[in-house]
């Protein structure tokens, strides 16, 4: 659904301070003839956790990549922490961070070496203490001196999360943060993200296929389908509109094109 100006205004009012952490306006990305992202607009309030939902090819990763400045939009505008991206990326990249299954940490380097390098890139002060703190928080202490390539999938995810938190970012972008984790570790990561948001008043935008995760973590859910915003509300609001009790059921309704019970 292409959004009109009235709808953009509605989204603005969700952020009463007027200083959105992320402000996306009429964003379009076309790869050759494919419209990966098709005229989407949304604002994300500071201190919130927002879930970006959608099936494969819905445009979640491309949207996040444009917010990060890794991909240039075909048209439209992205502002992050008040700065246009990618034009003023130098002003914001040190204040944000990300984790994605599309990138890895160097495998031959130890966890400590990797965190040291990224800590220096982000100009983290008292770096050794910060690494020790993260290692303790994320249960990495025992394998700090082990090469990243010799860790299990769960351990690697925790290292990637440690890298994403090394600079104590105001804005955290997460693409499938608990993919390939066992339920216990995944639950533990979610708890850590919740705590981080509360203690640092951070903004988190996460793309996920895990509906339980989104229900538990997110204040707001944006559902994408074929590059467009299909729905945008709190998890409870969306479930009520579709007359469903779980987001998984809503997801299936959206994926299979079943109409909403209420709303539109």
């Amino acid at each position: 659904m292409a959004q009109n100006d009235a709808e953009v205004t509605r989204l603005t009012t969700a952020d009463p301070s007027g200083a959105a952490a992320i402000d996306v306006s009429r964003l379009v990305k076309i790869y050759k003839k494919t419209r990966a992202v098709d005229d989407i607009s949304f604002r994300i309030a500071r201190g919130s956790i927002t879930g970006l939902l959608g099936g494969n090819g819905a445009g979640k990763t491309t949207t996040i990549a444009m917010i990060m400045g890794l991909v240039l939009p075909t048209s439209g505008r992205v502002q992050v922490l008040g700065h246009p991206m990618p034009q003023e990326s130098a002003q914001v990249l040190g204040r944000m961070n990300f984790e994605s299954p599309y990138v890895d940490m160097p495998m031959r380097l130890t966890v400590r070496q990797n965190l040291t390098i990224f800590g220096k890139l982000y100009a983290v002060e008292n770096l050794s203490a910060r690494i020790a703190e993260l290692a303790s928080d994320l249960d990495l202490t025992d394998f700090l001196d082990r090469p990243n390539g010799k860790l299990s999938a769960g351990q690697k995810t925790r290292v990637a999360l440690a890298k994403a938190l090394i600079n104590q970012p105001e804005l955290l972008l997460l693409d499938e943060p608990t993919a390939s984790l066992d339920p216990d570790t995944a639950d533990w990561v979610r708890e850590h993200l919740e705590t981080y948001r509360k203690t640092h008043e951070a903004t988190i935008l996460l793309a996920s296929h895990n509906m339980l995760e989104v229900e538990r973590l997110c204040d707001r859910v944006i559902i994408l389908k074929r590059g467009r915003i299909e729905d945008d509300d709190s998890p409870d609001g969306i479930m009520a509109r579709y007359n469903r009790t779980t987001l998984e059921e809503v997801f299936l309704d959206v994926a299979r094109g079943r109409a909403k019970e209420a709303g539109s």
């Binding site: 400045g69 890794l70 130098a90 040190g94 990138v103 380097l109 982000y122």
Partner: protein, 272 residues
Amino acid sequence: MSNLAMRRGLSAHRIGAMILRYWYLLLSSWPRLLELLYWPTLQVMTWGFLQTYVAQNASFFARAGGTLIGAVMLWDILLRGQLGFSISFLEEMWARNLGNLMMSPLRPIEFLISLMVMSLIRLAIGLVPMTILAIILFHFNVFSFGLPLIAFFCNLIFTSWSVGVFVSGLVLRNGLGAESIVWTLMFALMPLACVYYPVSVLPYWLQYVAWALPPTYVFEGMRALLIDHVFRADLMAAALLINAVLLMASFAAFLALLRSARRHGSLLGSGE
């Protein structure tokens, strides 16, 4: 969070972090270290023995002692300088780490500077044993060039960086499918740069192409030094001028290719 992260301009801290990253990588892998020594050693031995043989059978080469082995050593500065730059870049592609770097405060120019410093470090690791071997086996001391060696070295390393920056941009834009360019492009310069023979050997029209390449001036300058015992400062100045143009052009090309990679989404996958 430190205000340092938000500082604009070049950051020695970030450049240092990247050099540290490649240094850790080098130390973590003995095959990588061995590879740095292996090819230069093989090169200097093969060409050194060839020169010894030719010198025994041809009066010109006997008189112009060191032209072959000197050319090999200078060629290695050019080739290893570019490979040292490009391999460090490829390590990021192989490790799928480019997204992490591009999303960090590291600026493209800082990234390129760190790759240049690493090319010098890798070059030193390979060249020092090569130099010692040439002295021991063939009584050829590259330092006997004296101060002109600095001019030769600077011109060759500048060219190697220009090629390294450009091919890294190509790989960034086109993915690892373009990796073979990294290994082969410098060899395309070899016949035209007149590494082992004077420019006058080339057909007249091709000489114009040869003189457009900075290494041609260096190899001609080396032969002038070894055969005629004359340092051709004019050749070095011309090479420096062309190198300045090439370096600026390669930086512009890299930034254009980076922008194109961002437009096409190549930074997300960075695979084939």
